[in-house]
């Protein structure tokens, strides 16, 4: 039944992760088997502390699995690499650089010629709505604008995979909605492969092609749901019947999980 398939963009094969915390071993991730196909927008949904950021950090190359393999484009991950762009929850911009210098940090660092990256920078500034703010410093920007710089500075590197670790988690509800729409419109343009971490059910369903629900610690992938909603999507989608059907399904999974976690704690 194994049909030959193209190499997934991201692949985790039987990945386990343990931490040492005050001399005690803590299991963060257990037997993770997970893949993101090329051009897929994959979301991982889980409660806080379930190890979903650990999972992303291993794909980014900031962290290594205790056991198992992490592959990107079929190759094992050895360390951070511009081919795997990361958008953090905090914007993590360089405060001493202007918006433009933050966005061009990557291309300048890897020694690309300005003539090569300039047109793409211009296009990105337009797409993420930062035109006119090129010479501003991060301290002068709102939270949403900082995060848009954070997105532009990795997209300019044309990464194979875009890794997003709860990128809108720290924003207020209204800004978050705007950022989700912006991300949708950016995604429509290039069908960039995305691995998106979140604890927000609506956000996951609105943005992603697939939503993998994680269990509480030790984290495992409980179920992978395919979000078969038409694209291009807009915020109005969140009010539709189909959307709510999916939401109900995810809620049931999560409730099951929290009941189990509570029961285990009671032991």
């Amino acid at each position: 039944m194994a049909e030959p398939r193209p190499v997934p963009a991201v692949q985790l094969v039987d990945v386990w992760k343990e931490f040492l915390k005050r001399g005690r071993r803590v299991e963060a991730l257990q037997a993770i088997d997970f893949a993101v196909e090329r051009n897929e927008f994959a979301a991982i949904l889980g409660p806080s502390g379930c190890g979903k950021s650990t999972l992303l950090n291993m794909v980014a190359g900031f962290d290594r699995p205790t056991r198992g393999r992490v592959l990107v484009g079929g190759e094992p991950v050895e360390g951070p690499d511009p081919r795997r762009g990361v958008v953090f929850q905090e914007p993590a911009l360089f405060p001493w650089y202007t918006v433009l210098d933050n966005i061009t940090f990557g291309p300048r660092t890897v020694g690309r010629a300005p003539a090569e990256y300039r047109p793409r920078v211009e296009a990105l500034l337009e797409q993420v709505g930062l035109r006119g703010f090129e010479s501003h410093y991060p301290a002068e920007l709102s939270g949403g604008m900082k995060q848009r710089v954070g997105i532009a500075r990795v997209l300019v590197m044309e990464p194979q995979v875009l890794l997003m670790d709860e990128p809108f988690g720290a924003l207020d509800a209204q800004t978050r909605s705007l950022m989700q729409e912006l991300l949708l419109s950016v995604w429509e343009r290039r069908h960039q492969t995305v691995l998106f971490i979140t604890h927000d059910i609506e956000e996951a369903l609105l943005l992603a092609d697939s939503v993998s629900v994680m269990t509480a610690r030790p984290g495992r992938i409980k179920k992978r749901l395919v979000v078969d909603l038409p694209r291009p999507r807009t915020l109005e989608l969140t009010t539709s019947g189909v959307f709510n059907e999916l939401k109900r399904e995810v809620l049931a999974l999560i409730r099951e999980e929290s009941v189990r976690a509570a029961a285990e704690k009671g032991d």
Partner: protein, 263 residues
């Protein structure tokens, strides 16, 4: 309205008045503490010279002595910064360098700069080198310690962001660690220049024969307390000014820190 009143002059004026009263009413033993007016007069002569008699060492020699001391402070301070900042970057960034060098620095640091004086004169003699050694060493400690601290305080997320964007160790130190440590480095420089002024006075009192420290000690020996007090004010003023210069420089370099969000 109250903003326009320069409140900061109130306390100094009160202290001046108290000083004048204390001498005038002989609350202090007579002849030991000079009144403010006498200090001002002597200071004026020391700066601009007295008409007619110019043989006195306290007539028109202020600028020359200020320049001696300032040059020593500047040279010693620049040496301290040139050594202290790179060394602090290395200690803060590299664990091996840190374990090799940092314990020794912490061991030597509690030795007061004044305690180095005999050693310094024995090695360098009664020359400028002796003064420069003391000033440089004194200013080195706060600079290296604060630079190290600033480097270690670099946000992990910024380091990750730089690595994720393709930066290697050299780029990270130059473009992330150094700018991130700059506020702390400037704190070290401000503390360092303060120590440098302390050290220059001590050094000039004993190790060389010119500058404000030399004048201070010499004036004490010949019983010119008015000149002693004028020297104290001079050093205080120069220390204050050099601190302001570094502060202004830091405001200029760290402009990105003082900006505010548009909303």
């Amino acid at each position: 309205m109250s903003r326009r009143i320069p409140w900061f002059v109130l306390l100094p004026l009160l202290l001046l008045a108290l000083w004048h009263l204390a001498v005038d009413r002989q609350w202090t033993p007579p002849g030991i503490i000079p009144p403010p007016a006498q200090v001002a007069e002597s200071w004026f002569r020391w700066i601009f010279g007295a008409p007619g008699r110019s043989l006195s060492p306290y007539s028109g020699t202020w600028v020359a002595n200020v320049l001696y001391s300032t040059r020593r402070v500047l040279e010693g301070f620049l040496i301290a910064a040139a050594v202290g900042i790179p060394m602090g970057l290395l200690i803060g960034w590299n664990r091996l360098v840190s374990s090799l060098v940092d314990p020794s620095i912490q061991l030597f640091r509690p030795v007061p700069i004044t305690a180095w004086l005999p050693f310094s004169i024995a090695v360098f003699g009664i020359y400028d080198a002796s003064a420069l050694f003391l000033i440089g060493l004194g200013a080195f400690y706060p600079i290296v310690v604060n630079t190290t601290h600033g480097v270690r305080d670099t946000n992990l997320l910024l380091l990750r962001a730089a690595r994720m964007l393709g930066a290697g160790p050299a780029t990270i130190v130059a473009k992330v660690v150094l700018p991130s440590a700059l506020p702390s480095i400037f704190t070290g420089l401000r503390l360092g220049v303060g120590v440098a002024w302390t050290a220059v006075i001590v050094a000039e009192m004993i190790a060389v024969k010119s500058g404000l420290g030399y004048v201070l000690w010499d004036a004490y020996y010949v019983g010119r307390m008015d000149i002693c007090v004028a020297t104290m004010f001079s050093v205080g003023l120069l220390g204050f000014l050099s601190d302001r210069v570094i502060h202004a420089l830091s405001r200029l370099v760290l402009r990105w820190r003082t900006l505010e969000a548009h909303g």
